[in-house]
Amino acid sequence: MNAATSPLAPGASRVSGTPMVEMRDICISFGGIRAVDDVSVDLYPGEVVGLLGHNGAGKSTLIKILAGAYRPDAGEIRIKGEKADIANPRDAKRYGIETIYQTLALADNVDAAANLFLGRELMTPWGTLDDVAMEAATREVMGRLNPNFRKFKEPVRGLSGGQRQSVAIARAIHFNAKILIMDEPTAALGPQETAQVAELIKQLKAEGIAIFLISHDIHDVFDLADRVSVMKNGKLVGTARTSDVTKDEVLGMIILGKSPPGALAGPGAATD
């Protein structure tokens, strides 16, 4: 299917014709398990696409391919319509793809600033680490994300789950992302911080950033996402605009794998 002419493309008022990201016919297996099996998803600038599915459906694996953590066995990735070769996380970052991993991917033994700038440290003119400048930037970004955060000098091992998640979010948004991947970004956050992240997502979206949002909270997804793509057992059940389907229909997609009339069925849709 050609996404540019897809009936599911968001309203022409907001987007140009080419999607920011297209993942086409992506397959990957681990041992004998087909973790992602022929999945195609796309994402437009200023759009939030929710990725939904059971535990083990293959959501994290799919976005890790986009983030450069895994190389797919088959399929291709296009960024702004051009074929992209993403061999490792550095390549992904070069395309402006930033990721909040489900596991957070923090080095526990160093502090928040070291994690925020890991791999892209600020340097002094003499070529040494500019720790004070990194701490200052960290204080600023954390001050807005999680104003109560104080433990700047402590290894992140000593932080609470929510604080660690804030550090991971701060890292993803600090570097001018064009494409943001959020794998259950609020799983460990309290209601106040969750609300703040929702605010953040709305603001980033307004700036034209394209966001993949993985969440198990279907209400959150309906509040924030323009479209949802549902996976089951590594296969795509279907993709739908949130305005065209009800929550119950999406639950049906997740649980039964049934693609409702308002959705575009994928290869994983149950046939009855």
Partner: protein, 448 residues
Amino acid sequence: MTDTTTTSTPIPAAPPPGSPASRPGSAPASAPTSFIGALEIDVRFLGMLGALAVIWVVFDILAGGTFLTARNLWNLSVQSSSIAVMSTGMVLVIVMRHIDLSVGSILGVTGMIMAVFQVGTLLPTFGFNHPAVIVLTLAAGICAGAAIGALHGFVIAYLGVPAFIVTLGGLLVWRGAAWAVAEGKTIPLVDDNFKLLGGGANGSVGEMWSWVIAVIACLAIAAAAVQARRQRQRFHFPQKPVWAEFVIVITGCLAVIAATLVVNAYTLPPVLARRYAEAAGLTVPPEGISISFGFAIPVLVALAVGIVMTFVTNRTRFGRYVFAIGGNPEAADLAGINTKRVTLAVFALMGALAAIGAAISTARLNSATNAQGTLDELYVIAAAVIGGTSLAGGSGTIAGAMLGALVMQSLQSGMVLMRVDTPYQNIVVGIVLVFAVWIDTVYRKRIK
């Protein structure tokens, strides 16, 4: 390789009503909870200093007052140098969750390479005591060590063979190679400049230069404290209390002065002093002349290596990556760090440091033998672990490891003073190694 543009994406400054957004940097300094907390020093480091003091006092009592003498402490400092140099590299290896069992053998083979190269090639080319001889000898040794280490690192990082096995193989291979370089012959070293690296009466800097070094060290300690404070002031970060800074700077300076007093208190025997003074054209007063050893050159080499390695671990990208990889290899990978290349570099660095250790120990013995450095890997690993490097990876300090080297050497020298036979010394070293790792395990469980 990575871009450092950090024009940050604006984030909604939208703290919910009721929770005033704190201005960055206006965070109140968390009240220091204790004296040691305010000083921000590692409790483990203090513990190690305490352990060292206990070892010294106990040996002094057991050995009838012969341990805490200027002469013995000076010797201790020289004997610790080679292990201390290597332990700084072992810290990085262990921080990355690897191990290097081959350092003693690398020391052996690089020592032989340097000796054969010096005697066989450099001396005939440049002549006796030409300055190029020491430079090229060291360059050859360090390059050989780095190449051997890089080979280990390549097999570990790119071929995926565990470091334990690669370096266990290396232990045998390079020990055998050390024999093969000269078919088991002992090669005497002749270059006098090179011999200075081993210490001894000529290999020390004397009283005056020792004080010069001490003054520079004290100024550097004070300057570092002031610089750190200024940096934090620039961004209005919470500061350490001023009295804490003073305590640290003054303690550091006192330690430097004490060490200088000790090495200067060790003087040449009167007969040698007289001969030395006369050779230097000094008039010797009838009551004799006192000439101090001062800091030994190998000790200064070790301290310089320690300073450089501390800088590398704390202030460079490479050091940051080593720790991040040790803390969470997957996270480091996902952050875009080339973990394989860093692993290779760490083992290459370890090899180069083993070669520096080889230069010190061959210079000290005036010759290279194929057995040199046997069992050094145990001392080096023990030094790192006693110095607070966790075998679980991700934590360790250079200063701690060097102190650990001093602890290990103190144990050994103390046993020598008490005339404990070598096999019994080995039994003690083996037990201490296991004990140190056990203590580390207990300590880490407690803080979890």
